[in-house]
């Protein structure tokens, strides 16, 4: 229409374009899909909010929500006997913020970032819970900020400094065959920013004349960056080598001790060489600028965030659309993560009305859990969520990865049709027989034992509430519909409905709690609930 009008069909004066037709109302299915991408699980109440506001307005409001933080919670607690015990409180506040924070989108993006720029309580950070909590807060605070700022805050955070051993990294001592630590130099590029091989804007690999992938860096460049990251340790230490963590310096950016910074020239990406004699701060700024401006960052971060939020196998066009916004948010700014997140969630591929069977992804275990807990108002009488063992129970927990490589690889492809089709399903890497059985058993326990009908609950038991289901449990169809509405946007496969019906018919009508629990158990252990469309 606009095109034709633009041709100037004659007559007098420009014809105003007709007003665009009002957009179709957001359906409940679309609202659930959107909230499962942009929050810790859709609920009917939040779906109504999305339907009323529409997705873009919901996002704009979420972009303004201030972050729910972890560190103040830890700082307000009485000192524990042992520092490591505070990790339980850190995990507790993670669940509280993830379930109840008004900043759902920010928390969800922070969680995604925590699986890209990984630190973990398992290992050297075991006794630094304040640092780990503050690191997560940094991710939440920068979730909609600029990626360049995030990269610098992450780099100088003592949690990262300890985890990837940049903290305490010294200039070389050739006499003793000592050279700078290459750990952070390697992982910031491989995992946080550009990856191992050069990418096109759409995320596909660039190939050389022989059809081979092109490495983004070599050992000499790693060594160049390793020399950049020398001279930093805890702030305010009496001396570089006597720096020890305390409650305050573990949440302050690391400080440069110039005598321990290498002042030689350093080879970086793209043929850039830092001149000798620069300050450590200048070297760091230049090096992070060098990484930030590498053309891989846009497609790399686009793929990682799309995979965490929307789909395991984005099309090249989807990656390109997001990477273009990373490269320029429309106002000439590179690295605007708020704009990137909005583009990811509003892209047609994120809410196709006719999803292809490769669209979407599996929900990772924590997201399966939080969706259930949100939908069924999970709480404990103490108000605590004491699940420090999340990484054992569910195969993952907040900042509890076994290594900087996260709980699962972005490239994981299980044998069978996924691998044969050259697709990936990262979350399936931790959906092993063992972990799935553990999770299924936890759900059995959660639904049948940890619910509001149990009068022997301990004060820290997290229980769900299915009173509404019990009230209508005499009507099997109505009961199934209610659970389907709360957990599956009202859409349930015929097999699942048939099997639940068969089981409910075996349970006396008067056993309303068992009927309610049985229905929820079958839904939350089903493949269709594990799938995020």
């Amino acid at each position: 229409m606009l095109g034709l009008a633009g041709c100037g069909g004659g007559g007098g004066g420009p014809t105003p374009p007709p007003p665009p037709p009002p957009p179709a109302p957001v359906t409940k299915t679309e609202a659930f899909q959107f909230l499962n991408q942009g929050s810790f699980g859709a609920t009917e109440a939040e779906a109504q909010s999305v339907i009323a506001l529409r997705q873009d307005e919901w996002i704009d409001r979420q972009l303004q929500e201030p972050p729910s933080l972890q560190l103040p919670h830890l700082q307000a607690l009485p000192p524990p006997q042992f520092q490591f015990q505070l990790h339980a409180d850190r995990v507790d506040i993670w669940y509280r913020n993830s379930l109840h924070g008004e900043d759902q989108l920010r928390q969800r993006v922070a969680f995604a970032l925590s699986e890209i720029m990984v630190v973990s309580q398992l290992g050297a950070l075991g006794n630094l819970p304040f640092a780990v909590a503050d690191y997560y807060d940094v991710l939440a605070e920068n979730a909609f900020g600029n990626y360049r700022d995030l990269l610098e805050e992450v780099t100088l955070h003592p949690a990262m400094g300890v985890y990837l051993s940049m903290l305490g990294n010294e200039k070389p001592d050739p006499v003793l065959n000592i050279r700078p630590d290459e750990n952070y130099a390697r992982e910031i590029m491989q995992l946080f920013s550009i990856g191992l091989v050069e990418l096109n804007l759409d995320g596909s690999q660039k190939l050389d004349a022989q059809g081979q992938a092109i490495p983004t860096y070599d050992q000499e460049i790693i060594e160049g960056f390793a020399h950049v990251y020398t001279g930093w340790t805890f702030a305010g230490a009496p001396s570089f080598r006597q720096a020890r963590p305390n409650q305050s310096n573990q949440v302050l950016p690391m400080q440069l001790y110039p005598g321990f910074h290498d002042t030689g020239s350093k080879k970086l990406l793209g043929g850039v060489e830092l001149a000798a004699g620069q300050s450590g701060e200048q070297d760091l700024r230049d090096a992070l600028d060098n990484i930030f401006n590498h053309p891989n960052v846009g497609p790399f971060i686009a793929i990682r965030l799309i995979q965490r939020l929307v789909t395991s196998n984005p099309s090249p066009g989807y990656v390109r659309r997001v990477a273009e916004v990373f490269n320029n948010n429309g106002a000439g700014v590179r690295g605007d993560l708020g704009a990137v997140v909005k583009t990811i969630l509003l892209d047609p591929e994120a809410h196709s009305s006719m999803p292809m069977e490769i669209d979407g992804k599996l929900k990772e275990p924590l997201l399966r859990l939080t969706q259930l807990w949100k939908a069924y108002n999970a709480t404990s009488s103490s108000g605590r969520f004491p699940l420090n063992a999340s990484y054992i129970l569910f195969g993952q927990g907040p900042l509890q990865s076994p290594s900087v490589f996260n709980f699962f690889s972005p490239f994981f492809a299980p044998p069978g049709e996924i691998r044969d089709s050259s697709l990936v399903a990262p979350e399936l890497e931790i959906a092993t027989e063992y972990q799935n059985t553990l999770f299924t058993n936890y759900m059995f326990y959660q639904v049948f034992a940890l619910n509001q009908t149990n009068d022997t609950l301990e004060e820290d038991d997290v229980y769900i509430n299915f009173e509404e289901e019990m009230a209508i449990a005499g009507n099997i169809d109505a009961l199934i519909d209610m659970v389907a509405n709360k957990l599956l946007a009202g859409e349930m496969s015929s097999t699942l409905r048939q099997e639940i019906t068969g089981m409910l018919e075996r349970i006396p009508e008067t056993d309303t709690a068992v009927r309610a629990a049985e229905t929820i158990y079958f839904v939350v252990t089903s493949p269709e609930y594990a799938y995020q469309r």
């Binding site: 050297a124 051993s165 000592i178 599996l362 399903a425 092993t432 027989e433 326990y445 699942l496 089981m503």
Partner: protein, 452 residues
């Protein structure tokens, strides 16, 4: 340099016509003639995640060689008088020493039940330092990267990315010979892994203590939980929805199927008196021993177990952390070896190590960085023990194998290491090139550390 790829192999084995006629047909549907087996054999892979600093695990104990080592390692060197001495059986082989926490391994070495394969790592073809620098050989890509070198060790695909691992390919090759087995040939006690990934068989992933049963299921037909199991199973079998749902359902199905069989069997395992350390690795190896104890009940003839320990990425605090890391390996493997003796299966079970890479000889102050070649340990009654296999490099900075900072070019390939184990496992010589695709690039197909 001639490389024998899968297509070449199929041609030489007369299978090319079949391949051409049926694109997409996998190798194991055409080849794989092993079995049925009249004996029991198990391989147990102990993976040291993070990259074990194995030049502190096995140290030269002759003056000139030790001095080169100490000069390179400086503050990270083990004092010579702290080394646990070992003397290989072959005349003329120099003395070595073990890290002081490896007392268990020293005992196994001296009794002929343990051997080391030295300076081994992923290679596409034999590689010298000149060739490395002048680019005249094909190298594995992304050297010194954790996940890439893990993948190269476990897939042996050299410079080609791979979707299958060498244990997975072995399981595929023998699958027609082990159809009675009640459990998958490949079992992992440390999560999903590329090592056991295959085209036609699927590894079973259990927990460190073994498989779990489903709480909500019963095998008693009079119990409603029997109906619940059946209904649950039908939901899983429905093949509903997308590739992701079907992938998830596949796991659930395997979990249900294996839970009863394997837990039933393992619960009937006889008590094992060997005392395992209370570590993650100790728990895993104890479970492996219990599964080996019930091998007949599960009708197992060939098994490959994957167990692992983490924390070996010693960029930091190496002198503080290494004793616990290496001691943990030594204690757990020694206990496991004792358990196999107790079960009368010491000669049927071979334990071997893999790790991401060796580490730099040079220090970064208090730790080491990612490198390439390293030393691996093989333990079991079928091992030609009390020997070192492969060339042990001069541990000097800028020495003949050092590509910089003390990163050793492997002198033996991981393909040769794997093929030697695969041959003992029962893979026919002609099929070793499927297990270890670059084996044809190396002169020695069998390193000789296994009793034929």
């Amino acid at each position: 340099m001639k490389t024998l790829n899968r297509r070449d192999f199929l041609r030489t084995s007369g299978a090319a016509a079949v391949l051409a006629a049926t694109p997409g047909l996998s190798y194991s549907q055409m080849v794989g003639s092993a079995g049925p087996f009249d004996d029991y054999r198990a391989l147990v892979c102990v993976f040291m995640f993070g990259g074990n600093d194995s030049f502190n695990m096995l140290v030269p104990n002759t003056s000139a060689e030790y001095n080169a080592y100490a000069t390179s390692r400086q503050n990270l060197a083990i004092q010579q008088n702290d080394l646990l001495p070992i003397t290989p059986a072959s005349a003329g082989t120099p003395d070595f020493g073990l890290h002081p926490t490896l007392g268990g391994i020293q005992g196994l070495f001296n009794s002929g039940d343990a051997a080391f394969v030295t300076n081994v790592g992923p290679l596409v073809e034999p590689t010298t330092k000149d060739q490395y620098f002048n680019g005249s050989v094909t190298l594995p890509p992304q050297l010194f990267s954790h996940n890439d070198q893990q993948d190269q060790w476990t897939s042996l695909r050299g410079n080609v990315s791979s979707k299958t691992g060498w244990a997975g390919r072995m399981a595929d090759l023998i699958r027609s010979g082990v159809t009675e087995q009640q459990m998958a040939t490949n079992a992992s006690l440390f999560g999903a892994n590329l090592f056991q990934s295959a085209d036609d068989t699927v590894a079973y992933v259990m927990g460190p203590g073994g498989p779990l049963q489903f709480e909500g299921f019963s095998t008693d037909p009079n119990n409603i939980l029997f109906q619940q199991r059946a209904a649950f199973r039908r939901v899983v079998d429905a093949q509903h929805g997308t590739v992701y749902e079907r992938g998830f359902a596949d796991v659930q199905r395997r979990a249900i199927d294996a839970a009863d069989t394997v837990t039933g069997a393992i619960n009937s395992a006889p008590p094992i008196t060997a005392v395992f350390p209370q570590s993650q690795l100790g728990t895993q190896l104890r479970t492996v021993a219990r599964l080996i104890a019930v091998r007949e009940q599960l009708q197992m003839k060939r098994q490959i177990f994957f167990v692992a320990a983490g924390g070996f990425d010693s960029h930091d605090s190496q002198n503080q952390d290494q004793p616990g890391l290496l001691g943990g390996i030594s204690d757990a493997i020694s206990a496991f070896q004792a358990a196999t003796v107790e079960l009368g299966e010491a000669s049927s079970v071979t334990t071997f190590t893999q790790s991401d890479f060796g580490r730099t000889l040079t220090s970064n102050g208090d730790g080491t960085d990612h490198a390439w070649g390293g030393n691996q340990l093989v333990v079991g009654g079928a091992v030609n023990g009390r020997e070192l296999y492969g060339n042990f490099p001069l541990l000097a900075i800028n020495g003949p194998e050092d590509v910089g900072g003390g990163r050793m070019i492997p002198s033996t390939s991981a393909d040769q290491y794997a093929a030697t184990l695969a041959k003992w496992f029962g893979i026919a010589d002609g099929e070793l090139d499927i297990v270890a695709p670059n084996l044809g690039n190396f002169a020695q197909r069998d390193l000789g550390f296994m009793i034929a």
